[in-house]
Subunit: 331 residues, 2 copies
DNA sequence: TTGTAGGCGTTATCAA
DNA sequence: TTGATAACGCCTACAA
């Protein structure tokens, strides 16, 4: 493997100068820069990240942590979309992604150990739980990190989130305005803020519209297709004429259940999902969806993290993506 | 961050000794080892990977490369399952995983650059194409790597694969033995060996059973659900009474199409998939599946890679997992 | 604008 | 069985 020393020799300069060129130090004459750059590219030289890290520089590696179990990992489209968008954005910025998935609770401690000592310039965490030890550890460490989703305790942490309240409000209002009277909801995972927020917004919106909230019309679906199916089974007994599912996977499960019960969607029961997952867009029968592009979240998280890495803020950044409502009605 | 120096001081030994303990060097007295180990764990000490790499050691990081596009990434369960099984196995072995996904052809060169210089002890590549430049580059480099799936050219590379011929044969024979006469097939992605092999095995099995192979009963599905749906639409015109789909995603697509056409599965048209994907197991209506646990592939690939890293072979290892046939028939 | 030199935390080689 | 000590490749003052 060819090193900085060799490049320096070929370009007729010192290692320092090569280093400056590589790191975009302005204090290099244009002529020298060009010469060095030429040698660099003709040799396909890439600086050694380990050495760079050791010398106090960046590695160009960021960590992506998604501590959810296999059952969700395999069925929720959220996962591949997020991973893809994050890696894609990083690769475009000449960075690499190190991935940690769904470790059980007891192993989380060792993860944080690794994270803090590792080759990472920064970390992105998604799908965490309330008071997640990973988040706590990260917060104590010096490593820059960004959460995808708001964090429960009022910890001053950097996060990027969607406007859950607004999205939910629009979804429920859509159902109200289209004349539905018994609007049910399928919630996500108890013990996550995102689920609570969407549920609360559901309640508030109904209440504000003068509806009585019927507890029989609320069921938990765990964010997965199977859970949406099971929840719909329970809800069906109480004859809703519409369902707001807290994500698309559960919406699809609900539709599967409804069609088994011989109910038409949306004529008999209207269904609205959440996420604007690609698979939902092509799903038949009709699925209406609140748009919240997951990929956008990933991109923004990476961008924010890059900012933090370059100049660590004291002020935490909290970014809430503007909400959109895209109702898809299929033929 | 606490380093080896500090541990040495607290344990009253030299850095060298601590290093020996960490790396399981037998030349340490039991008493010393215990003392060091104690200090290590009480300080939550973890060796710095960058430094370790620089000094000639391992980083404990392996790369996972899956060069497929977004369209497959989002809809094929293959992806999350493989990623999960690989990361899980690695984490259990105290290793980390660096991920590269679906870069377009033109960017592959830079990937290999990164790979070869990076912090990686080894690399796993899946879903490559025939004569993939990534594989070629890896083969020229010194870095240990394992392919998931056999490689076309007779390059002597390490791989772990499933027994595609045998699996396909069993699937098709199952359809023959259950009395089907017009057995169609939906193939994967042209330009991948795995697709060609499954198609060829389909032809051979039919021929050996005395069937005439009807080219109208062969359609390409690209390994995705939508593709399976579209392929089934074409095939339906030629009235097959059974379909062998080269993976479960396409099988699900085919079933969706059939049910839209008012055909019952498996009474009117039997469907057999491939992969034993979890989602397929719970899919209704009836889907019969050739079992080939993807997670097993991931686990084996990691194990093989670890072997290679410890003692690089000259002889390439080629492991073919024994095939299984699990036909699931749902109620 | 450029070069020199020290150090980052570890492993490996040699002596002791 | 242990302890010095020289790399490993790079970055960053500091000096020129």
């Amino acid at each position: 493997m060819i090193g900085i020393e060799e490049i320096a020799k070929q370009a007729g300069v010192s290692r320092s100068t090569v280093s400056r060129v590589i790191n975009n130090d302005p204090n290099v004459s244009e002529r020298t820069r060009q010469r060095v750059l030429e040698v660099v590219s003709s040799n396909n030289y890439v600086p050694n990240r380990a050495a760079r890290k050791l010398a106090g520089g960046r590695t160009g590696v960021i960590g992506l942590v998604i501590p959810i179990g296999v059952s969700r990992l395999f069925v929720e489209p959220f996962f591949p979309i997020l991973v893809q968008s994050v890696t894609d954005r990083c690769n475009r910025l000449n960075h690499s992604v190190m991935l940690w998935l769904g470790e059980p609770e007891r192993e989380r401690r060792s993860i944080t150990q690794i994270l803090s000592n590792d080759l990472l310039d920064g970390v992105i965490v998604s799908s965490f739980q309330d008071r997640d030890p990973i988040v706590a550890a990260l917060h104590q460490s010096q490593i820059p990190f960004v959460l995808i989703g708001r964090y429960p305790d009022s910890l001053p942490v950097n996060f990027v989130d969607i406007d859950n309240e607004e999205c939910t409000r629009r979804a429920v209002n859509y159902l109200i305005h289209t004349g539905h009277k018994r609007i049910a909801t399928i919630t996500g995972v108890a013990g996550t803020l995102v689920s609570r927020v969407r549920l609360q917004a559901y309640r508030d919106t109904l209440a504000r519209a003068g509806f009585q909230v019927d507890e029989n019309l609320i069921a938990e679906g765990g964010f997965i297709e199977e859970g949406g199916y099971a929840a719909m089974r329970k809800l069906a007994a109480h004859q809703p004429d519409a369902v707001f599912a807290a994500n698309d996977a559960m919406a699809v499960g609900a539709i599967r259940c409804l069609s088994e019960l011989g109910l038409r969607v949306p004529e008999d029961v209207a269904v609205v999902g959440f996420d604007d997952a690609p698979f939902a867009a092509s799903y038949k029968p009709a699925l209406t969806t609140v748009a919240q592009p997951i990929a956008e979240l990933g991109r923004h998280a990476v961008n924010m993290l890059m900012q933090l890495i370059q100049r660590p803020h004291t002020q935490p950044i909290m970014e809430v993506l503007p909400s959109e409502l895209v109702i898809r009605e299929s033929a």
